[in-house]
C-alpha cells in the first residue's frame, strides 16, 4: 500500500470512492485490513504534511472506472464485474 511507483518508475495514481461508500468500506477492511477512518487519517496526514499525495476521491463506481481507464499508472477497485480490455483486472475472492 505504501509503494508510490510502478516498477517502470511510473507514478501510481490511486482512485477511491468516498470513505462512507459501502464498496470502499468492504475493500478497506477485507483487502487492506484497515478501517476507512484509518485510511482517511493516513491520507490527510500525507496531504497536509507535505510527505505524500492522497488518493483522488471520485463519487461513483462508473466515474472511478473511467478515471482509471484514462489515467496513466492508475489503480482502483470495483465490486461490479468489469469487461474492459484496456484494464488489467485482478479478482479478490473473500471466503
Amino acid at each position: 500500500m505504501r509503494q508510490t511507483l510502478w516498477p517502470n518508475d511510473q507514478v501510481i495514481v490511486v482512485y477511491v470512492l468516498p470513505s462512507k461508500n459501502k464498496t470502499h468500506r468492504e475493500f478497506s477492511k477485507k483487502a487492506l485490513h484497515m478501517f476507512p477512518y484509518q485510511l482517511d487519517r493516513i491520507w490527510n496526514k500525507l496531504t497536509y504534511s507535505g510527505v505524500g499525495s492522497a488518493p483522488i476521491v471520485v463519487n461513483s463506481q462508473k466515474e472511478l472506472i473511467e478515471a482509471v481507464q484514462h489515467t496513466r499508472g492508475a489503480i482502483g477497485y470495483s465490486e461490479d464485474k468489469i469487461n474492459n480490455n484496456q484494464l488489467n483486472i485482478i479478482t479478490i475472492k473473500n471466503e
Binding site: 518508475d9 490527510n44 484514462h70 484496456q86 484494464l87 479478490i92
Partner: protein, 399 residues
C-alpha cells in the same frame, strides 16, 4: 458477508491510449491544492493561556493552504502556509509550515526511502505531523506536556534535511525510521513567547537532530514508536537587556503506543526532557532540570459521525521538585508551587457535519500552570489559580 471485490489496474499496455503532454503532466493532475479553515470560540477561566482578560475569546483561528506537484516520477515539491491566532499560545500571523523537495530514492514493494530538503515537518512524535491540522489531530488543544503551544513554531518542523526509510514485511509488520537535522528560525515574536517582551537580544536555535522508529506488527491494530531529540539554543544579549547571554541544551525522549479498533481507539505517550540553562539570569547561572510527562487518551466512535474523547495528562518540569516546593522557596515565594506542574483532564466530542466539515467541543480541567507563556517569566499575578478550566468549540472545514 461474502462480497466479491474486484481490483482493477491500468498497466503499461494502456500507455499508448492516453495522450499526455509534459505540460499537462506538470500542471494538470499532478498539481494539487488543499486547504483548511477552522474558527472557534474559547473560554479560559483562571489563567492567561489564551488572553490576559477574562471572558470568551475568538482567538481560535487556523487557516491553511498547501500545494504539491509531482515534478518527475521520483521528485515532488510541497509547501503549506498557515495563518494562526491563538492568543498567548503562539504569535498571531502567517508562517510557512513546510516547503520542501521530496526525493523518492528507493521504492519497491518492501522498501521505500525518501529524502526531504527544505523546511520539513516534524514527524517524530505521535501527533507532531498533524498538530497543525485541526480536523486530524485528536483535540482542539493538544496535550501541552508534549505539544506545548509555546514551542509550536520551533517544534512543528525545521529547515534542513530529513530521511525516511520504510520496510514492510507480511510476517513481522511495517517499520518506519525517520531522521532529521536542521534549525528553526526564531522570530522576534516567537522570542517574546519564550523569553517575554523584556528580551531585547537575539535567540537562535543552533541545531535540532531527531530520530524516531515506528513499528506496526503485521495485521495488528497496534502501533508502537519511540523518538529521540537533541537540540541546542543560544541567546545573545543586547547592549541594554533584562537577560544576559545564554546557552541552552535540550534533550527529549518519547515512547508511544496507538491502538485503532473499529470503535475504540487508545493512545498514550510518555516522555522525559532534560533542559540545561547556562546564563540568562546572570552570566554564571547554571540550572539543569529533568521534566517528565505522560498522557493516556481514548476515543470512541459513537456512530458514523460522532466521536467522543477522554484524556488524562500529567506533567512536571523537574522530577526532583514535582510539587514545586523548591520552586516557590528559591523564588522567595514570588512563584507559586503550582508553576512546577500541569495536569489536565479532558473530555470532548466531534461531529462530522459533512464529509469535509466538522465541529468539535471540549472541556479541560487543568491543575497547575507550568505550560503557560512566556516560559522563562511566569506571571503569578495573572495566573493566581492552581485550578483552571478551558472550554472550546471549533468549526472546521477542509478541501
Amino acid at each position: 458477508m461474502n462480497h466479491k471485490i474486484t481490483v482493477i489496474l491500468i498497466v503499461f499496455i494502456t500507455l499508448a491510449f492516453i495522450p499526455t503532454s509534459k505540460s499537462e503532466t506538470l500542471l494538470g493532475k499532478n498539481w494539487r491544492w488543499h486547504g483548511f479553515a477552522a474558527q472557534g470560540v474559547i473560554d479560559v477561566n483562571g489563567s492567561n493561556f489564551v488572553t490576559d482578560d477574562k471572558g470568551v475569546s475568538t482567538k481560535l483561528s487556523e487557516f491553511g493552504v498547501n500545494t504539491s506537484v509531482q515534478l518527475t516520477s521520483n521528485l515532488r515539491f510541497a509547501a503549506q502556509a498557515v495563518y494562526l491566532n491563538g492568543g498567548n499560545r503562539y504569535f498571531e500571523g502567517a508562517r510557512v509550515d513546510y516547503l520542501l523537495l521530496d526525493w523518492t530514492f528507493l521504492n519497491t514493494s518492501k522498501w521505500q526511502g525518501n529524502f526531504y530538503l527544505g523546511r520539513f515537518k516534524n514527524v517524530h512524535w505521535l501527533y507532531s505531523s498533524v498538530r497543525n491540522i485541526p480536523f486530524v489531530r485528536p483535540s482542539i488543544i493538544l496535550p501541552q506536556s508534549v505539544y506545548f503551544d509555546g514551542f509550536r513554531d520551533i517544534a512543528v518542523g525545521a529547515d534542513g534535511s530529513a530521511l525516511k526509510i520504510s520496510y514492510n514485511d507480511d510476517d513481522i509488520g511495517d517499520f518506519d525510521f525517520n531522521f532529521s537535522y536542521g534549525t528553526s528560525p526564531i522570530s522576534k515574536k516567537q522570542q517574546q513567547i519564550i523569553l517575554s517582551e523584556f528580551a531585547q537580544g537575539k535567540a537562535k536555535q543552533d541545531f535540532d537532530a531527531q530520530a524516531s522508529l515506528y513499528w506496526r506488527p503485521a495485521l495488528s491494530q497496534w502501533r508502537f514508536g519511540l523518538s529521540l531529540l537533541d537540540s541546542d539554543f543560544s541567546y545573545r544579549q543586547a547592549d541594554v537587556d533584562f537577560f544576559t547571554s545564554a546557552k541552552f541544551a535540550f534533550q527529549f525522549y518519547t515512547l508511544n503506543a496507538l491502538y485503532e479498533g473499529e470503535q475504540w481507539e487508545f493512545s498514550g505517550e510518555i516522555y522525559q526532557e532534560r533542559f540545561v540553562t547556562k546564563g540568562l539570569v546572570y552570566p554564571q547561572f547554571l540550572q539543569e532540570s529533568i521534566g517528565q510527562g505522560m498522557y493516556l487518551q481514548s476515543r470512541y466512535k459513537w456512530d458514523e459521525n460522532i466521536t467522543l474523547l477522554m484524556r488524562y495528562e500529567k506533567f512536571y518540569s523537574d522530577k526532583e521538585d514535582k510539587k514545586g516546593n523548591k520552586l516557590a522557596l528559591n523564588s522567595g515565594g514570588r512563584t507559586p508551587s503550582y508553576f512546577a506542574f500541569q495536569n489536565d483532564l479532558t473530555i470532548g466530542a466531534s461531529y462530522d457535519v459533512t464529509k469535509n466539515m466538522q465541529v468539535r467541543l471540549e472541556q479541560h480541567w487543568v491543575e497547575g500552570t507550568s505550560r503557560l507563556t512566556p516560559v522563562t517569566l511566569p506571571n503569578p499575578l495573572l495566573n493566581d489559580h492552581k485550578n483552571w478550566q478551558i472550554t472550546a468549540v471549533q468549526l472546521m472545514y477542509w478541501f
